[in-house]
């Protein structure tokens, strides 16, 4: 007699398989419809409280070096160098003295998470570039971070978009060090990795070079899929 043959009485076959397949199906449904569920939940309870729930709208704090950089705002400098008429060395106060732009826009990570309706304040990147005077031979920008490792790039055309800013306030408060403060880039129409944190320098160059995340497999063309991209491109034109 086959050992381990279950007791014959009343066996409902494959109940276990049903549970397993049910879980996988629920998981697949979550992948396809989870974004919608999340936005409904987020709208119902507000993105502030939503951030506390698992799967809620919250930032994931990425660092690529061994630790979270921390730059005192009194020491902060932003250098603008390269193909410019007037190289700049700006303090936080200098940036705040420039024309202020306020945006309320989503922060969208390439891996999928999104924080809706983030309140941003800063200076348009195009205003910073105008102050430095970009030479006609230039076509792109290279950004450095105070973490000493992260780099990013934009073309000059992308940099002219009105929702690409050098940000110094977020959520109506100074940007905290975990969010890349005191000053970070915010490139609204592109995935979050373009919005380099702890911005230290902007080099005006001839050609866009792939940045850190792009060397690690992310696309240099970082336009967010769908409506965002189209909306932003229409502004562009």
């Amino acid at each position: 007699m086959a050992s381990g043959q279950p007791r014959p009485e009343n066996v409902l076959k494959h109940f276990g398989r049903r549970i397993f397949i049910g879980m996988v199906a629920a998981g697949a449904a979550g992948i396809v419809f989870g974004a919608r569920v999340q936005s409904v939940v987020g709208n119902t309870i507000g993105s502030g409280a939503g951030g506390l729930l698992p799967g809620g709208d919250r930032f994931r704090i990425y660092t690529i070096t061994g630790h979270l950089p921390s730059i005192p705002s009194s020491n902060y400098r932003l250098k603008v160098t390269g193909l410019v008429e007037r190289p700049l060395d700006l303090s936080l106060e200098d940036l705040k003295a420039m024309p202020k732009t306020t945006l309320v826009k989503d922060f969208q990570c390439v891996t999928g998470w999104r924080v809706p309706k983030v309140h941003w304040e800063g200076v348009r990147l195009s205003d910073v570039l105008a102050a430095a005077g970009v030479k006609s031979s230039a076509a792109a920008l290279a950004f450095d971070s105070y973490d000493g490792m992260d780099t990013e790039s934009l073309t000059l055309d992308q940099a002219q978009l009105p929702d690409v800013i050098v940000a110094y306030r977020m959520f109506d408060a100074p940007i905290t060090d975990e969010h890349g403060g005191p000053v970070r880039l915010y490139v609204a129409p592109m995935y979050g990795y373009k919005s380099i944190k702890w911005l230290s320098a902007i080099h005006v160059v001839e050609r866009a070079e792939p940045g850190y995340w792009e060397q690690n497999g992310y696309p240099v063309d970082a336009w967010i899929d769908g409506s965002h991209k189209n909306a932003e491109r229409s502004i562009d034109q």
Binding site: R7, G34, A35, G112, E178
Partner: protein, 186 residues
């Protein structure tokens, strides 16, 4: 699971640092996690494991009633694994599949549409929370059921324990092996 904490909670990350390394460990331990189980299942050495998996698949009506009543309805002849244990193993198997799929969508994101990536992140977060609760419960119950815990390490249970907790299985084993005391399959 441990590597998830600094990735998710910035307070932990501040303390631990080295995010890129931890993210890699998290990804690759996740990918290889089911490998030993699959190797054990697939080979000729996996006969007893496959039999246990079959046990978790096959439920009697009484077991389903027990589960639906959340254990209040007595189970006359419990199997080697009680319905709760069966459910836990099924939950674990389902979790591995879903976490592997959703994690892969986030890691190799360029192959998937954005709404899927958002959904996968949502899944991964919600299920991770459930797993955390279940694993804590699993450890608590294991520590409060010393006989069952010991059987996992030693590979056998006493006949009197089997009589009390797995009567149906004891009957079945005794029937197939004469009067030998049953041994677990671990």
């Amino acid at each position: 699971m441990a590597t998830a904490l600094p990735l998710y909670f910035v307070q932990v990350e501040r303390f631990v640092g080295r995010r890129a390394l931890i993210a890699d460990i998290h990804t690759w331990t996740g990918v290889v996690l089911p490998v030993p189980l699959l190797v054990l299942m697939a080979g000729p050495w996996g006969k007893r494991l496959r039999r246990d998996i079959r046990r978790c698949n096959l439920w009697t009506a009484a077991e389903i009633r027990w589960l639906r009543s959340l254990g209040r309805e007595p189970l006359a002849e419990p199997d080697k694994f009680n319905p709760g244990q069966k459910l836990n193993s099924l939950f674990t198997a389902g979790t591995i599949a879903v976490m592997l799929a959703t994690g892969s969508i986030m890691k190799w994101n360029r192959f998937f549409p954005l709404s899927w990536r958002t959904g996968a992140t949502f899944d991964h977060d919600v299920l991770a929370t459930a797993v955390f609760v279940v694993v804590m419960g699993h450890i608590t119950v294991a520590l409060t059921h010393r006989d069952a815990l010991r059987s996992i390490f030693k590979g056998w249970v006493s006949e009197s324990w089997a009589q009390r907790h797995a009567g149906g299985w004891l009957k079945e084993e005794s029937a197939s092996k004469g009067s030998d005391p049953p041994s677990t399959n671990q």
